[in-house]
């Protein structure tokens, strides 16, 4: 059986193997040529390193167990694990040294390498001097633990990046460089070099004798030649090396390092092409330049202003329910001010803006009633670029003030009348890039002349609708009630102010010449129908719209139905017919009485001494799709001396096709008024016509009101 003591002595002796190898590689340094298979060993460094960390720290912990000296078997465990840790430390250091040959350079590597060596050396020494005083051992163990942690930290820095560990608690404010200030080299090119090149070309590790961590180094170039030559791709080694095939030994960055992206390649090439300047600003490049376009995306078009920001308290104070004052973007001193809410516009509040005279860059007062307000204060806005004054009732004096604002780039004054004098003033605004002149009453020659004077300005005259002829919407008819008792007011309206409304009250369709023109509400005192149409210049006349109104002069004193209405559609019985409430078409059961199997036979009586009605109106529903048809016959009889006499009758025109549900009014004039009672009979259609899906079945009659007038 394997004895613990033999394991221990084996491990102690291998320890010396590692020490020897470590010494060789460390001292030989870069002159060593390592075979490929050793690279595999080197690359196992990140796996191996976990063993010594755990084993060594565990072993160190045993030194701290109280009374460990009196428990040799426990101390033994600690010592063995510590010894194993020492061995793994040796292997890890070896692997690390091999790996370091491959790709890593930099200050952080130096720290990691030497800390690793210290840990290895330290733990070996501690192991062999483990019999020393407990106090000394404990102090050394703390130091060693510290060294292990430091080594690990630097190592992690190599793999994950220097700030990896502390990044979450460090403030990560990235300084925003405004486009106007961005330098081609400093802000666009250098970050790429820093990320992909400088780790091998800097103080302490000047590969190819090229230093890239300061400008002088770049200007000087390396051992093979100049780093860059303005505009010369062939002689600029930068361009040459980054464009070599990846497998080429001289390809940069080296094969196993992070490579340049296509965008970065393009940026570096464009930089050299554009002169490889170390000072030039990005904005000096033409806007079409590819480098400019690529880089400007990075800076998000954050336009920079040189003036100071306004006081934050002032800005807060200026923000009210009717006014918004906002920076163009966070940290920009430039302000965008807008007014909202026509009814709540306080003109005196404009003077508050003095506080931010210097900062206002965009200003909108669109739709605010500015008539008679002195706009000279706008001249104090030294940096005003965009002004929106659509529909603000500007006059010539105000327009003159506006035309003198020479910092303006965008001006919107749509919806304001512009006279010829103002037009001449506007024509002087050469700084304008965009001008909005829709709905300003300018004639075609006017438009041409201003476009000619401001040839570089984009002018929008908008849509004037000329030559487009649409049909007008029908006017709206409003009336308080459909059935009224004394008189009724009818109001007609149209949303287009210039529209003329013509109407008739005799049921005929109005025309644009002879029919009455609506000017004021119409009062009616009878039962009838109003038909109205709208007309306007440059529009086609509207479709006719109509509405009925019913006058109810006499209310019967008695009424009864001979046959009950259909049980599904009985509403409140006969009383429904005299409630003076016109039913809406869809509510069949609530306000309409329906008859199918039996006719409607209604008997009504009137006060003895009162006038007897001469006119009868019956309001019916037609909806062929729902089998509701005009009655086949309507008759009205009067009881005279105990005998029923025919006083009026009609056969309504039968439907020939299905139409949507609609209400119809049948009017009758009675032959005489010598009756005691009236009997009104509506006979439903016995057989639905052939064209109807329910042909042959019975039709329905629906009735909601019966109205009597003198």
């Amino acid at each position: 059986m394997l004895k613990i003591s033999s394991i221990r002595s084996f491990l102690e002796s291998t320890l010396f193997v590692w020490i020897g190898l470590t010494l060789i590689i460390t001292l030989a340094g870069n002159t060593l040529v390592l075979p490929d298979w050793l690279q595999v060993v080197g690359r196992s460094h990140p796996i191996l390193l976990h063993f010594p960390i755990v084993l060594l720290l565990m072993g160190l912990l045993f030194f701290w167990i109280p009374g460990i000296d009196k428990k040799p078997e426990i101390r033994e465990i600690g010592e063995i694990s510590f010894l194993a840790g020492c061995n793994f430390a040796g292997i890890t250091v070896l692997a690390g040294l091999i790996l370091a040959q491959e790709e890593y350079t930099g200050e952080i590597l130096t720290w990691h390498k030497w800390a690793g060596l210290v840990v290895f050396g330290g733990c070996v020494i501690l192991y062999f001097f483990r019999a020393m005083q407990a106090k000394v051992i404990r102090i050394s163990s703390v130091v060693l633990a510290g060294a292990i942690i430091a080594t690990g930290h630097w190592g992690a820095g190599l793999t994950h990046g220097e700030d990896f560990l502390l990044a979450p608690i460090q403030s990560n404010n990235i300084e925003v460089v405004p486009l106007a200030e961005a330098e081609i080299f400093g802000d666009v090119v250098l970050p790429i070099l820093e990320a992909k090149c400088i780790s091998c070309h800097k103080e302490g590790k000047i590969k190819g004798e090229l230093r890239m961590d300061h400008i002088e180094g770049l200007q000087k170039g390396g051992k093979s030649g100049p780093f860059v030559l303005a505009g010369d791709f062939e002689k600029s080694l930068l361009i040459q090396r980054i464009n070599l095939p990846l497998d080429e030994k001289k390809h940069m960055p080296p094969k196993n390092k992070a490579q340049l992206t296509d965008e970065e390649l393009l940026i570096l090439s464009e930089w050299v092409a554009s002169g490889a300047s170390f000072e030039q600003k990005l904005v000096t490049l033409p806007a079409k330049n590819e480098l400019y376009q690529l880089a400007s995306v990075k800076f998000e078009g954050n336009k920079i202003y040189s003036f100071d920001a306004a006081d934050q308290d002032d800005i807060t104070e200026l923000n009210t329910s009717f006014r918004s004052v906002q920076p163009l973007f966070p940290e920009s001193p430039a302000l965008d001010v807008s007014y909202f809410g026509i009814s709540a516009f306080p003109p005196e509040s404009l003077s508050d803006l003095k506080m931010v005279n210097d900062q206002i860059v965009q200003f909108s007062l669109s739709k605010m009633p500015l008539a008679g307000i002195d706009l000279k204060f706008l001249k104090d806005f030294k940096h005003l670029e965009e002004l929106q004054l659509n529909f603000t009732e500007l006059d010539a004096d105000q327009l003159k003030v506006i035309s003198e604002l020479n910092t303006l780039e965008v001006l919107a004054i749509s919806g304001n009348e512009i006279d010829s004098e103002s037009l001449q003033n506007l024509a002087k605004m050469k700084s304008l890039k965009k001008l909005y002149l829709w709905q300003t009453g300018l004639s075609d020659p006017d438009q041409k002349s201003i476009q000619k004077s401001l040839s570089t300005t984009e002018i929008d005259f908008g849509f004037d609708g000329k030559g487009i002829i649409y049909e007008l919407n029908s006017p709206a008819i409003s009336q308080a009630e459909l059935i009224y008792q004394d008189s009724l007011e009818l109001t007609l309206s149209h949303p287009i102010k210039t529209a003329e409304i013509r109407y008739t009250l005799d049921g005929t369709e109005p025309d644009s010449i002879s029919s009455a023109v609506y000017s004021a509400p119409i009062f009616v005192k009878n039962t009838g129908k109003i038909v109205a149409k709208a007309y306007a210049a440059d529009w086609k006349g509207s479709k006719a719209i109509e509405a009925v109104f019913m006058h109810s002069g006499i209310t019967p004193s008695k009424f009864s139905l001979v046959y009950e209405p259909n049980s599904k559609y009985k509403a409140s019985g006969a009383a429904t017919l005299f409630d003076l409430e016109k039913a809406k078409t869809p509510n069949l059961g609530e306000k309409w009485l329906g008859f199918q199997d039996e006719p409607m036979v209604l008997e009504v009586g009137f006060e003895k001494n009162a006038d007897k009605p001469k006119d009868v109106s019956i309001s019916l529903l037609y909806s062929e799709g729902s089998h509701i048809f005009p009655p086949s016959k309507v008759s009205i009889q009067g009881l005279e001396n105990g005998k029923w006499n025919q006083l009026a009758s009609t056969i309504p025109t039968p439907s020939t096709k299905a139409s949507s549900a609609r209400s119809e009014l049948l009017n009758f004039e009675l032959a005489n008024t010598n009756y005691d009672k009236l009997k009104i009979t509506l006979t439903p259609l016995a057989h639905l016509p052939k064209w109807h899906p329910g042909a042959g079945g019975k039709g329905w009659v629906f009735v909601d009101e019966v109205i009597f007038n003198k």
Partner: protein
């Protein structure tokens, strides 16, 4: 020795474990009392993030989203595929369809006959974009818009697809895009809600819209979309009751606010302060909304621009006009929904009617914003929740067919607000079935929209139920090619 081991074991009983555990929990609690933000991540991270909004200079200040609810067919609007006419009635090749799942409506179909557009296509503008004959007005503004032909989505049915487009997730508990923008950027005009919603219905086969689409989700209730209706009261419950004066109303709201402040101090529930803000907003809206819905001051040319329908409340044209008025008044996000685009059958007839209702007004909105100098700062989006299949649903009858839902490729357009104009982006295969170039996923689209508003979609988040949420969920890339 054995006894000791046994005792040791017995001593480690549950009571002891729990009492020790309580010590640990107690010290945690003590720790968190001493350092209140110990367990809440970076102190005030949410606030710091909000203060930094917008993250960079926005290209657009406001959005008008013309949502075409029901999914208009891309093959009869912007994605011209003559091959489908040439191979009319032939079977959709398996190689093109691939593994695409189908809806329950056509999954059982034994054949998938290709069907070409009933309408003619023509090229327009400097971009030479193909547009079908039923969108003549849109063709007229083609150089002001950017048509994206390579949209694709994850969902295949209306509800999840709509919800996905609006909230970034297919299940309906997340804040809508408008709510996110209200949360991130607030309202420009404190008299109107930052997020307004307008509905209209076309003459084609319709699909429902529901208030979850403009829900604030887990954000504060003030970020919910406010629906404007076409009734006498455009915003419900906004009018004062008869005989109540403005002053009385003011007093009442101040009193309620004072009482709410008391309970706020007591309970510190953010819902209470949200309530106070809502009362205040409603009070201000009482004067601001009538101004909005009054069209009597609009010039006659505007009526001709949008078409006479814009005078009929509740139509798409009237909503477009109202949308412009709201947007012009600083409403951050105006969302329109126009129903009726679900042409499973009778497409040639219905789509013409649908296009008639929306084409003129959509184009008018662009022209109108442009002539006021507002198009540069207003982003307008037109599109549905997915596309439609290149094969016929059911049998092809002469001059009549229908199309099923198709999430793999469809078209939308955008205009203004920093979007490149006069551009057609993305391409589909000859069958109009798969994207061949520059795909834009719904999350990419959302990321791009937020980017135009000056927001980094990855940085605008809200912590809810222990995790941070964002509009684009966990994906989405800004499509830089679309940005001017």
């Amino acid at each position: 020795m054995e006894k000791e081991i046994l005792e040791e074991g017995l001593n480690h009983n549950r009571r002891k474990f729990l009492s020790r555990l309580s010590l640990g929990v107690g010290s945690l609690a003590l720790g968190s009392l001493l350092v209140p933000d110990l367990f809440s991540g970076k102190a005030g991270a949410e606030e710091a993030m909000m203060n930094a909004l917008p993250h960079f200079a926005p290209k657009a200040k406001r959005i008008i989203y013309l949502f075409q609810n029901g999914a208009p067919s891309q093959l009869e609007s912007f994605d011209y595929k003559p091959l489908l006419n040439k191979r009319m009635g032939e079977e959709l090749p398996e190689s093109i369809r691939g593994t695409q799942r189908l809806t329950g409506m056509t999954a059982g179909q034994s054949s998938f006959p290709l069907v070409g557009s009933h309408y003619k296509f023509n090229q327009y503008g400097e971009s030479r974009a193909w547009i079908s004959e039923v969108f003549p007005h849109t063709a007229g503004i083609v150089d002001d818009i950017c048509i994206v032909k390579s949209m694709h989505t994850d969902a295949i049915n209306h509800d999840p697809a709509l919800t996905f487009f609006q909230t970034g997730a297919q299940v309906g508990n997340r804040p809508s895009m408008g709510s996110w923008l209200s949360y991130g950027l607030g309202s420009e005009n404190s008299n109107l809600p930052a997020f307004s919603v307008l509905l209209s219905r076309g003459r084609g086969n319709g699909q429902g819209v529901y208030s979850k689409l403009w829900s604030n989700g887990f954000l504060e209730a003030t970020h919910q979309g406010v629906q404007f209706s076409n009734s006498e009261d455009p915003v419900l419950y906004l009018k004062d009751p008869e005989s109540m004066s403005r002053e009385e109303r003011r007093k009442m709201i101040d009193q309620i606010a004072a009482m709410n402040d008391l309970s706020m101090q007591q309970f510190n529930d953010p819902e209470i302060s949200a309530k106070v803000k809502q009362y205040e907003m409603a009070y201000r809206m009482q004067t601001a909304v009538p101004e909005m819905t009054d069209i009597s001051k609009e010039p006659e040319s505007i009526i001709k621009l949008y078409g006479p329908d814009c005078l009929v409340p509740g139509t798409y044209a009237a909503n477009c006009l109202l949308a412009r008025k709201l947007s012009e008044s600083g409403v951050r996000f105006v969302q329109l929904y126009h129903q009726g685009w679900d042409q499973h059958g009778n497409l040639p007839n219905e789509m013409r009617l649908q296009a008639e209702d929306v084409d003129q007004a959509s184009a008018a909105l662009i022209t109108d914003l442009k002539q006021r100098g507002l198009l540069d700062e207003t982003l307008v989006i037109w599109g549905g929740e997915f596309g439609r299949t290149n094969y016929c649903q059911g049998k092809i009858v002469v001059d009549n067919y229908g199309r099923d839902h198709h999430p793999r490729a469809f078209s939308i357009w955008m205009a203004g607000g920093g979007v490149k104009s006069g551009m057609v982006y993305g391409e589909t295969d000859e069958f109009g079935y798969n994207i061949t170039e520059n795909p834009v996923h719904v999350h990419d689209f959302q990321a791009t929209v937020l980017h135009l508003m000056g927001i980094d979609h990855e940085r605008m988040t809200y912590k809810h139920l222990g995790r941070r949420y964002r509009l684009t969920d966990v994906s989405g890339k800004v499509v830089k090619d679309l940005i001017a």
